[in-house]
C-alpha cells in the first residue's frame, strides 16, 4: 500500500493544477460577459481545488508518519527514531513540504471565501476566486516542476538523515503553519484588490469584505512571528528574541504592510476615502509575503535558518513574483487614476491619524526592506560584502515607532473628518499625567543617571499608549460617569471591533515596555563556574550543583543543574542542557528559564572549561519584562480575533446598489 500513497499525492497535485487553470479563466470570463453559470463555477471549483491539495498534503504526512524512506523528502528530513510530533512537523520542516503547506493554505482561503461569501456580489467573488486560482496555479507549477515532494528513491535508504535538531522543538513545530496562514492569507486581500481593479470599483462594501481576510491573516502572522521570536529566545541560547535576521525581516515586512492595510481599510469602509492607496497596500502586503518566500528559498541572502537554497527555485519564485505583483501593479497604474476619491478630511482627524499610521508603517517597512536588501545591493555594485546588523535597524526603527505610538494614543480620540486636537488632549490628561509620572518614577527607580533617560522615555511612551487606550475605552462605556450598571451594559454593547482595537493597542503598549526594558536593562554574566560555586545576578544567587551526561531519545546531553536562591531561600532548580543530536550530528543549546511572570532568569550551560578542570562555561541572563512581549503579542492576536467576530462581518455591508457591475465598470473605466 505504501508504494502507491506517494503516487496518489502526485496525481492529486497534477489534477489540482488542471482545476486551478480552468478556475483561473472560466469565472473571470464569466464575470466579464455577465454569464451566471460560468461565474457559479468558482465556488465548486474552489472546493475541489482545496480537496485535491488536501489529499496531497495528507499523502505526504502519511509518508512521514510511517517513515517511508523511499520518498526522497522523507529520507532527507526524517528518521525512524524521531518522536511522532517531529515526524509530523517534519512535513513542513523542509522546502518541498513547506511549499505544499503554503499551497494548502492558499486553497484553504479560497475555500473559505467560497463557503462564507454569501453576501458577496457574484462578479466580485468570481473574479477574486479566479485571481486566487491563478496564484495557486503558479505555485502548483513551482512545486511540480522544481520541488516535487513525492520523488522516490531507488533503492530506499535504511534510515533517514533526520531533521535539523534546532527545529525539533514544540515551539517551532507550530511556527511555520501559523506564519504561512498569515503570509498566504494576504493573498485573499490581493485577489480582492485585483478583482476590484478589474471591476473598476472600490467602495465601502468592498472594504468590508476585504477586512475579515486581512484580519485573519494578520492575526495568524502576529502569532507566527511571536512564536518564532519565542523559539529564538529559548532555543538559540543567547537570551535575545529578535536578531533582525533576513528571515525574521521577511516575516516582519508583510506584518508592517498588513498592519497599515488593516487601518487604511477602515478609512475606505467608514469614509470612502484612501481607496487607491488601500488597493496599493493590498498588493504591497502580498508582494512582501512573496518576497519573504523568495528571500528564504532562493539563497540570495544568507541567514541562520534558510532552507537549502537553489538558484532554479529562486528564479521560479522570482518569475511568480514578477508576474503576479508586476501584473497587479500595471493594472493598478491603469485603473487607480479612475477610482473616485471619497470624503475629504483635515490632517487633524481620525482619517489623518490613520493616514499617519500608514505612512509610518510603510516607511518602517521600506526601511526594513532596504536594510535587508542592502548586502545584496552592495554585492551587485561590487561595494564588497557587508552585513547590516541590529545597530542600523534599531537606529532607524525606533525613531519611526516613537511618533507612531504617540499618534496611536490620540488618533482614536479624534472625530472623523475634522478632529479637535486640543479637546482630545484635554480628555487625555490622565494619560499625560501617567506618562510624566512613569518617566520620572522609572528614571528614579533605575538609578537616575543620564544613561537611564532614554529608557525612562520608552517606559513613558508605553504608559502613554496604555492609559490613552484605556481612557478611550472608559469614555465609550462612560466608566465612573454613569452608574456601574449602565457602563456594564455599554461595554457589552460595544462593537467587537472597538474591543479589538482596545486589546491590540494595549498589547502594543506591553510590547513597547518589554522592548525598552529588554534593550536597556538586560543583565548578562558569562563565566567559568565550578561545581558548587554560586554566581550573583540581579539579586539571585545561582549555584551550579552538578553537571552530568544524560541520554535522550535521539540525542545525548550534558545537563547542568542550577539552584536559584533569593535571600538564601531556594526558589527554583533549573536544568539547562547542551545536546548533541545523532542524526544529523549537531549540537543545540537548551536554555532553562525561571520566570516570575514579569522577568526571566535565563541559564545556559556550555562546554567544560579546558583551562579549569571541574568547571563549566555558563551564561546567565536577567531579562526584565521580556514576558510582556509574549503577553503583548497574544493581546494583539486576541484583538484581531475579537474584531473578526464583529457583527458587521456577519451581516455584511448595507447593500448599496451594485446592479450590473460589469457594465458600469466598463463605463467607468
Amino acid at each position: 500500500m505504501t508504494l502507491s500513497i506517494a503516487e496518489l499525492g502526485q496525481f492529486s497535485l497534477a489534477l489540482a493544477l488542471c482545476v486551478a487553470l480552468v478556475q483561473s479563466i472560466v469565472p473571470l470570463w464569466g464575470a466579464h460577459r455577465g454569464d451566471g453559470a460560468m461565474m457559479a463555477m468558482a465556488r465548486p471549483g474552489a472546493v475541489a481545488l482545496f480537496g485535491l491539495v488536501a489529499v496531497a498534503f495528507a499523502c505526504l504526512t502519511y509518508s512521514f508518519v510511517v517513515s517511508d524512506f523511499s520518498v526522497s523528502v522523507v529520507a532527507q528530513n526524517s528518521h525512524s527514531d524521531k518522536p511522532m510530533l517531529y515526524k509530523v512537523a517534519g512535513v513542513w520542516g523542509n522546502h518541498e513540504g513547506s511549499l505544499l503547506l503554503w499551497i494548502t493554505a492558499l486553497t484553504f482561503f479560497g475555500l473559505a471565501v467560497a463557503l462564507t461569501g454569501r453576501n458577496l456580489p457574484p462578479q466580485l467573488r468570481a473574479r477574486a476566486l479566479s485571481v486566487q486560482a491563478m496564484i495557486t496555479a503558479g505555485f502548483l507549477l513551482f512545486i511540480l516542476l522544481t520541488s516535487n515532494p513525492f520523488i522516490r528513491l531507488n533503492p530506499p535508504p535504511m534510515d533517514g538523515k533526520g531533521l535539523n535538531p534546532l527545529l525539533q522543538d514544540p515551539g517551532l513545530a507550530f511556527h511555520p503553519p501559523m506564519l504561512y496562514l498569515g503570509y498566504v492569507g494576504f493573498s485573499m486581500a490581493f485577489s480582492f484588490a485585483v478583482a476590484a481593479l478589474i471591476e473598476g470599483r472600490v467602495d465601502a462594501a468592498w472594504a468590508r469584505w476585504v477586512r475579515p481576510w486581512t484580519l485573519t491573516a494578520w492575526t495568524f502572522l502576529t502569532l507566527g512571528i511571536a512564536l518564532g521570536s519565542w523559539w529564538a529566545y529559548y532555543e538559540l541560547g543567547w537570551g535575545g528574541w529578535w536578531y533582525w535576521d533576513p528571515v525574521e525581516n521577511a516575516s516582519f515586512m508583510p506584518w508592517l504592510a498588513g498592519t497599515a492595510l488593516l487601518h487604511s481599510a477602515i478609512v475606505v469602509e467608514k469614509r470612502d476615502s484612501l481607496k487607491s492607496w488601500t488597493i496599493l497596500l493590498s498588493i504591497l502586503t502580498f508582494a512582501m509575503s512573496l518576497l519573504g518566500t523568495f528571500l528564504v528559498r532562493s539563497g540570495v541572502l544568507t541567514s541562520v535558518h534558510a532552507f537549502a537554497s537553489d538558484p532554479t527555485r529562486g528564479m521560479f519564485v522570482l518569475i511568480l513574483l514578477a508576474v503576479s505583483v508586476g501584473g497587479a501593479l500595471i493594472l493598478y497604474a491603469f485603473r487607480a487614476p479612475t477610482l473616485q476619491g471619497g470624503g475629504l478630511f483635515t490632517p487633524i482627524s481620525r482619517e489623518g491619524g490613520l493616514l499617519l499610521n500608514n505612512l509610518l508603517m510603510t516607511t518602517a517597512m521600506a526601511t526594513v526592506l532596504l536594510g535587508t536588501l542592502y548586502p545584496l545591493i552592495a554585492d551587485a555594485f561590487a561595494l564588497g560584502k557587508v552585513s547590516v546588523g541590529a545597530p542600523f535597524f534599531n537606529a532607524v526603527f525606533v525613531p519611526l515607532m516613537v511618533p507612531l505610538v504617540v499618534v496611536m494614543g490620540i488618533g482614536p480620540m479624534l472625530a472623523w473628518k475634522r478632529g479637535d486636537l486640543r479637546g482630545a488632549l484635554s480628555r487625555l490628561w490622565v494619560a499625560l499625567a501617567a506618562t510624566g509620572l512613569t518617566m520620572a518614577g522609572s528614571w528614579l527607580y533605575v538609578g537616575g543617571t543620564i544613561d537611564d533617560l532614554l529608557a525612562a522615555f520608552g517606559f513613558g511612551l508605553a504608559a502613554w499608549l496604555l492609559v490613552a487606550t484605556l481612557v478611550e475605552w472608559a469614555e465609550r462605556v462612560k466608566l465612573f460617569r454613569a452608574p456601574a450598571g449602565e457602563s456594564l451594559r455599554r461595554a457589552a454593547n460595544l462593537p467587537r471591533a472597538a474591543w479589538g482595537m482596545t486589546l491590540a493597542h494595549t498589547g502594543m503598549a506591553l510590547v513597547v515596555a518589554g522592548v525598552t526594558a529588554s534593550s536597556a536593562y538586560k543583565g548578562e554574566l558569562v563565566q567559568s563556574q565550578k561545581i558548587g560555586e554560586a554566581v550573583r545576578i540581579a539579586g539571585y544567587d545561582v549555584t551550579l550543583t552538578s553537571a552530568a551526561t544524560v541520554q535522550g531519545p535521539n540525542y545525548e546531553a550534558q545537563r547542568g543543574i542550577f539552584e536559584v536562591r533569593k535571600e538564601g531561600e531556594l526558589i527554583a532548580t533549573l536544568t539547562p542542557e547542551k545536546r548533541l543530536y545523532r542524526s544529523p550530528p549537531m549540537p543545540t543549546t537548551e536554555a532553562a528559564i525561571h520566570t516570575t511572570g514579569l522577568s526571566d532568569l535565563y541559564t545556559v550551560i556550555g562546554d567544560p572549561d579546558p583551562a579549569l578542570p571541574g568547571a563549566y562555561v555558563t551564561r546567565l541572563y536577567h531579562e526584565p519584562l521580556v514576558p510582556l512581549l509574549w503577553y503583548g503579542a497574544l493581546l494583539m492576536a486576541a484583538g484581531g480575533l475579537v474584531s473578526l467576530t464583529d457583527r458587521r462581518h456577519r451581516v455584511g455591508a448595507p447593500v448599496r446598489k451594485r446592479t450590473g457591475a460589469a457594465t458600469t465598470a466598463a463605463v467607468k473605466a
Binding site: S276, L280, I283, L284, A287, F294, S298, G299, V300, L301, T302, P311, G314, M315, L318, L321, A322, V325, G326, L329, I330, Y332, A333, A336, P337, L373, P375, L376, I377, D379, A380, K385, Q558, K578, L580, P584, P585, P587, D607, P608, P610, A611, P613
Partner: protein, 179 residues
C-alpha cells in the same frame, strides 16, 4: 503628473526584480567566507610532539603530498562527532591527515583522548597556547585545511567533517589537486 504617481510603484518594482535577477544569475554564493590564507603557503611553524607519541608536525612536513590538517582538542565536543569519520578515512588510507592538538590544558590529555577514540593522524603537533592556530586563522575547533603538494592552503572547512562534506566538497578538491 498625477498619472506618474500611479506608475511609480511599477517602476520601483521592476528595478527590484532586476536586482534580484542579476544576483541570481551571477551565481555568486553569499555564504562563502573568504579566508585570508586561501592560496597562500602554510605559515612556518614547528610544533612539539604529543608527549609519548612521536611524529611531531612541522610546516616542512606538509610539502610533497596533498594532505588534510585538522584542528582538534580533547575538550572539544564537536571534534568527537567528526572523529569516527576521520578514523574511517584513515582506514581507507585515502589521504594523510595531520592533527594540531589545540589549547590542551594538560599535554597528556591529547594522547589519552586519541588512545580512547582511535588515532587517525599521521603527524600531530601540540599547540597549547594557540601560537600556530592564530597564524592559520583558526576560529574554533574543529576546523580542517586542505593543503596541496607545494604546502599551499587551498581550502578551509569550519565545523565537523562529515561523510557529506567529504564526498561533496573535500574529495573532489583533493582529486583535482592531485592531478
Amino acid at each position: 503628473m498625477r498619472k506618474l504617481i500611479f506608475i511609480a510603484p511599477t517602476i520601483m518594482f521592476v528595478v527590484l526584480v532586476g536586482l534580484f535577477a542579476s544576483q541570481l544569475l551571477s551565481g555568486r554564493d553569499p555564504k562563502t567566507i573568504p579566508s585570508v590564507l586561501i592560496n597562500r603557503p602554510v605559515p612556518d611553524f614547528a610544533l612539539e610532539e604529543l608527549p609519548g607519541r612521536g611524529m611531531p608536525l612541522r610546516s616542512g612536513d606538509l610539502k610533497g603530498e596533498v594532505s588534510l590538517v585538522n584542528i582538534f582538542g580533547s575538550w572539544c565536543v564537536a571534534c568527537a562527532i567528526e572523529h569516527p569519520f576521520l578514523m574511517k578515512l584513515k582506514q581507507q588510507n585515502v589521504i594523510p591527515i595531520h592533527g594540531i592538538d589545540w589549547r590542551e590544558k594538560n599535554p597528556a590529555d591529547g594522547l589519552r583522548w586519541l588512545q580512547k577514540n582511535g588515532d587517525p593522524y599521521t603527524r600531530v603537533g601540540l599547540d597549547p597556547d594557540s601560537k600556530v592556530a592564530i597564524d592559520f586563522g583558526v576560529t574554533g575547533a574543529p576546523e580542517t585545511f586542505v593543503v596541496d603538494k607545494n604546502g599551499v592552503i587551498r581550502y578551509k572547512h569550519i565545523g565537523p567533517v562529515t561523510e557529506e562534506v567529504w564526498e561533496q566538497t573535500l574529495k573532489p578538491l583533493v582529486e583535482e589537486l592531485r592531478k
